[in-house]
């Protein structure tokens, strides 16, 4: 066969026609595909058969009960908690009944439409940012400036006849969104600087960056929030106050930056020495080299890992429960204080889990696709 193929390309080769005929012969037909699949994937060995039987037995025991609880006997819609109490299944009605305080927290009830508009705008801009065909710095920065301003106006109000809502009343999903965006937007430049500093040839710069990164990575996020809430006010001169929300965001951003810096450092280390040498031999200054040669390549290499930490930043917003900022999780916990609906906490938490899951899962799938795309287009 191999022999035939090598000769096939030569002009006047004897079997130019024979090769394609053989290659296009149909694959052997599988008569009993299902059985074969079952044998290969479930019963390939005695041990595998045992595992399959055990799992199927477990599923048979669990799934019908879950089905009965979650779907068959569930209450989907009611305003009366007694109906839920009487039912033996899940009470999904708690979500319908309580979705406003869960999703929007303490924000004035009549103004919730503003949050919906803000969320739609935000998610729209977010989706556009993820699409490769829009990856144009000028366009993206313009987009985010416009959307950020619009979202800010919608949340705060105070202009265009919108009532003013102080940030202490923000809550729910929009607050989660603000926390997350603030963390990433403030954290990203700090992360880049820390990563560059850690790779610096200047011993003092390096020491400061290493100490900073390693110290913050060694402590839990909660302690950073404690610093932001309890300790930081003591650091300020008397009479000066900084908004709690802002302090939290700065704390989370610094924490995020320390982890992201390590990812970026990985990207920086992956750049061949020759790139630096070439840039230096062209006479570029450090910042020119960093901005035009090093960072574009480094960030591209570590983009998937950076997305993973961005996912972590979404999940980390839930830590604000400790200081009572009303993000979606705190708001839900608060809703469950209602004695009438308290017993349906499983359903409420599952709903919140679903919200987080949708965002994080989508981003993690995106990160995987990004990885495939980047490795496919790698030039070196």
């Amino acid at each position: 066969m191999a022999d035939t193929l090598t000769r096939a390309g030569e002009p006047g080769g004897p079997s130019t026609r024979a090769a394609p005929t053989r290659a296009s012969a149909p694959p052997p037909e599988e008569k009993i595909a299902v059985l074969r699949w079952l044998r290969d994937n479930l019963f390939s060995s005695p041990f595998n058969t045992l595992v399959t039987i055990l799992i199927v037995a477990g599923l048979v025991k669990v799934v019908p009960g879950l089905f009965a609880w979650g779907i068959q006997n569930a209450v989907w819609y009611t305003k009366d908690h007694e109906v839920c109490r009487a039912a033996s299944g899940a009470c999904w009605a708690v979500i319908g009944e309580k979705h406003r305080p869960m999703l929007f927290g303490l924000y004035p009830y009549a103004e919730h439409w503003r949050l919906v508009v803000a969320l739609v705008l935000y998610l729209g801009a977010f989706s556009i940012t993820l699409m490769r065909r829009f990856w144009n710095p000028v366009f993206l920065i313009a987009l985010w400036v416009v959307v950020g301003t619009a979202v800010g106006i919608l949340l705060w109000g105070g202009v265009f006849g919108l009532t003013f809502v102080p940030s202490s009343q923000w809550g729910g999903l929009p607050l989660t969104m603000v926390l997350f965006t603030g963390t990433v937007v403030l954290g990203m430049p700090v992360a880049v600087l820390l990563a560059l500093g850690r790779r610096s040839h200047l011993p003092l710069v390096k020491t400061v960056c290493v100490t900073f990164i390693e110290t913050l990575r060694g402590v839990p996020l909660i302690t950073i929030l404690f610093v932001a809430v309890n300790v930081f006010p003591l650091f300020l001169p008397s009479g000066m106050e900084i908004n709690t929300l802002l302090r939290i965001i700065v704390g989370m951003a610094i924490f995020f930056a320390c982890y992201q810096a390590e990812v970026i450092r990985g990207g920086l280390q992956a750049i061949p020495r020759g790139q630096y040498e070439a840039a230096e031999s062209l006479g570029l200054t450090y910042w020119q080299m960093t901005r035009r040669i090093v960072l574009p390549q480094a960030l591209r290499i570590c983009l998937p890992a950076m997305v993973n930490h961005i996912i972590a930043a979404i999940k980390n917003t839930s830590f604000v429960l400790i200081i009572g900022l009303f993000d979606i999780l705190t708001a839900t916990t608060n809703v469950l204080e209602d004695p009438l609906w308290r017993r349906f906490f499983v359903e409420a938490y599952l709903f919140v889990a679903l919200v987080y899951f949708v965002f994080c899962y989508a981003l993690s799938k995106y990160s995987q696709r990004l990885e495939q795309w980047l490795s496919a287009g790698r030039q070196y």
Binding site: H201, L202, V205, G218, V219, F226, N230, L321, Y361
Partner: protein, 395 residues
């Protein structure tokens, strides 16, 4: 040579010191140092002024003062008259307890799920991958408070879940029978330690022999037999003393037996289920990183599949698995601080109470951070040592 010298002197030929890389490097560093010192001094003086103004004491004298609050569960005797220092020690011990159990359980769960993900059994692989995708995309805070809510809403002691004799599960926690203390158990413990050392020495001897002579002998089952057999024999020789301390339902509550509080179980389940998903991913990646050729070569040498796993796949996979697993252990230990959300008295919880009572925020937060830093440092040192052992040895 002359050319090289001119080249080296290049930057200075421009006349200005400003164009010398070396000078600029020194200048940047002096600026940075000055900045750090200035900011540090600014913050320090502000803190002092603010504390003076609010008349909050400074220093660690409060550690010796009476704490005045109770702690729900403690590994050492503690009551509310004891000092803040002792309360913090109780908190640290609880943090360590939940971290140690968490690391062990997360490793088992993650290893199991990771292996299941690469299993040839379609059902096992799919279920494990569902577990990973669902669990790691839900915040760990939600995991912990969800389980806390679940365990708190279990039926009361009267309607305990009672699957078999000596085990009760209710909203007070998991209550189970334990053997009553007996002097013989000390010797059983000693025998277990001796067995552990003996098993370790045996495995090492067998490995050495295999490397020297090429003769293989089974080590897993004999080692297990030594570890279990030795204590068992010691126990039997001393007349097999066994009296169970069973939990009994009194007027309102259980007495006897051992108790795991709902907070402890919730925190443990939450962080283990979450971290387990990450470890599973690491284990999967590690196993898949071993080139197929390695396994095929081992099989074609006629090695049995268990043998291939133990001596070919695992040692190579571990090299990939260990470093990222270290950071998962670290994050698990740090996530044990979530106990503060659900009332498990670990370090952050106790320090938080201390902070609220004494107002000494700087010291309380400082203690939290220092302890976690030391813990992180210890874990990474231990794991680095282990990593050095598993790392590739070039011959």
């Amino acid at each position: 040579m002359a050319q090289a010298e001119t080249f080296q002197d290049g930057p200075r030929r421009g006349g200005s010191l400003l164009y010398s890389t070396a000078f600029r490097g020194v200048a940047y560093q002096i600026l940075l140092a000055a900045g750090v010192i200035l900011v540090g001094y600014f913050l320090y003086s502000n803190v002092n002024q603010n504390l003076e103004r609010q008349s909050i004491a400074t220093g660690f004298r409060f550690l010796t003062e009476s704490a005045g609050f109770d702690i729900g569960e403690s590994l050492i005797p503690y009551d509310s008259n004891d000092s803040y220092g002792k309360a913090l020690v109780v908190g640290i011990l609880n943090t360590l307890l939940v971290s140690v159990f968490g690391v062990v359980l997360a490793t088992i769960l993650g290893g199991f799920m990771g292996i299941a993900r690469v299993s040839r059994n379609w059902l096992a692989a799919k279920l494990a991958s569902m577990y990973v995708e669902v669990m790691r995309n839900i915040p760990v805070v939600l995991h912990v408070i969800f389980w806390a809510a679940v365990f708190r809403n279990l039926p009361g002691p009267k309607e305990s879940i009672h699957p078999f004799e000596g085990l009760y599960f209710n909203n007070r926690g998991l209550i189970f029978a334990v053997p009553k203390a007996n002097p013989a158990y000390v010797w059983v413990g000693v025998a277990f330690l001796v067995g552990l050392v003996a098993a370790f020495l045996f495995v090492r001897w067998a490995d050495r022999r295999r490397e020297r002579t090429g003769k293989f002998m089974p080590t897993f089952w004999p080692a297990l037999a030594i570890m279990i057999g030795l204590p068992l024999v010691t126990w039997l020789v001393q007349g097999a003393p066994l009296v169970w301390d069973k939990p009994t339902f009194g007027a309102f509550n259980f007495s006897g037996g051992a108790v795991l509080t709902p907070e402890f179980i919730a925190l443990l389940v939450g962080i283990v289920v979450y971290t387990g998903a990450f470890i599973a991913e690491i284990v999967r990646a590690g196993i898949q990183s071993v080139p197929r050729g390695q396994i095929e070569a081992a099989r074609s040498l006629g090695l049995r599949s268990g043998f291939v796993m133990r001596y070919v796949t695992l040692p190579q996979a571990l090299r990939v698995i260990v470093p990222p697993t270290t950071s998962q252990y670290l994050s698990l230990a740090k996530n044990s601080s979530l106990g503060v959300f659900i009332g498990y008295p670990e370090l952050v919880n106790v320090a938080n109470t201390t902070l609220n009572q004494t107002g000494q925020a700087v010291e309380a937060v400082g203690i939290m951070m220092t302890v976690y830093l030391l813990m992180s440092l210890t874990i990474s040192i231990i794991m680095n040592l282990y990593n050095r052992k598993t790392i590739i040895r070039e011959r």
